[in-house]
């Protein structure tokens, strides 16, 4: 490390050694330790500009802007939520339960009354348009 190179580094990167080129950092710090007065003069001049630069801050993005950016990203479709399947299962269970209750009701009715539920013996479905007609077609 030479005095000229030390000055070049500080002039370009500032007074904070963390900003100095990685490969030269140790050598530059060693040089500064050995030439404290000369180094401090160079560093002080740069440190005040560093402080000014550091004081310039940029506001972070607002939440709404972040959300807007996120909304522009293509997003993979998620599988359908399981709650829907749960409702379908519940519907099946409900129908089965209703059928069971109806059957139980019919059986208990038969047991209590001793008569099966009545059905119309001569239901209309047992007759047809071909039975019981008295029309005489002989004239034709």
């Amino acid at each position: 490390m030479t005095p000229e190179r030390f000055r070049t580094i500080v002039d370009a990167y500032g007074a904070d050694p963390r900003r100095w080129p990685e490969k030269e950092r140790v050598a530059a710090e060693d040089w500064a330790d050995l030439h404290r007065i000369e180094a401090d003069a160079v560093l002080a001049e740069s440190a005040s500009l560093d402080a000014w630069l550091t004081s310039h801050t940029i506001a972070p993005p607002e939440r709404s802007f972040v959300d807007r950016i996120v909304a522009t990203a293509p997003v993979r479709h998620r599988p359908k939520p399981r709650t829907r399947l749960w409702w379908q299962g519940a519907a099946f269970a409900g129908i089965g339960l209703a059928g069971g209750l109806a059957g139980a009701f019919a059986v208990s009715f038969f047991v209590l009354t001793g008569t099966p539920p009545q059905v119309h013996e001569a239901s209309s479905y047992l007759t047809s348009s071909f039975g019981g007609s008295s029309a005489d077609w002989s004239g034709e």
Partner: protein
């Protein structure tokens, strides 16, 4: 490149359209891109447009991203810088005309906040007055904290040329701030 790209895994998940990865990437990179563009353009609204456009390109590139060619962070800086240059070329006005939004200091007295605001404006004005290549070098190296090698590669120049730009930028800033209370003890 010997080190692993710290963003590679996240970018791969973004490429698979993982919603959680998308949100993480935005929180990680948006403040950086916004700061870069705001300092380059001196205009918050334009900087937000640049950041949004940069993310559109990120979404397109993420499924094809291959680790090892370049660091993802370096690549997005390149994208954002190109977008900034497109806008700077199209400008006829002084970029200082509009004030960018500043970070409010939540603590401190009103006097301290006012002083911080004044200081911030002085630096912002001085930065905006720099030649664009000097500003780019300073923003990349000082504010974005890219290494000298990364910043030089991004700008397509040698490290020596970068150091020259940085030194000239700092000299100009010192001269400009000298007229606004710059001293060895300030700020």
């Amino acid at each position: 490149m010997s080190e692993r790209d710290p963003d590679a895994e996240l970018v791969a998940r973004v490429g698979e359209q993982d919603p959680a990865a998308v949100r993480t990437l935005v929180s990680r990179k948006l403040p950086r891109l916004l700061a870069l563009a705001t300092r380059m353009l001196g205009d918050r609204m334009e900087a937000e447009d640049v950041a949004q456009e940069a993310f559109v390109r990120i979404w397109k590139q993420a499924p094809h991203w291959k680790e090892g060619e370049a660091r993802f962070d370096t690549w997005i800086h390149r994208v954002a810088l190109n977008l900034c240059y497109d806008r700077l070329r199209g400008r006829r006005e002084d970029p200082v005309a509009e004030l960018p939004e500043e970070a409010a200091d939540p603590q401190g007295s009103p006097d301290m906040q006012l002083e911080a605001r004044v200081r911030d404006e002085r630096v912002r004005t001085a930065l905006a007055a720099l030649p664009v290549r000097q500003r780019e070098a300073l923003v990349l190296n000082y504010y974005q904290e890219l290494s000298n090698i990364e910043a030089a590669a991004l700008m397509g120049i040698t490290v020596d040329a970068l150091e020259s730009l940085l030194a000239r930028a700092r000299r100009s800033l010192r001269a400009q701030l000298a007229g606004s209370g710059f001293s060895k003890d300030m700020p």
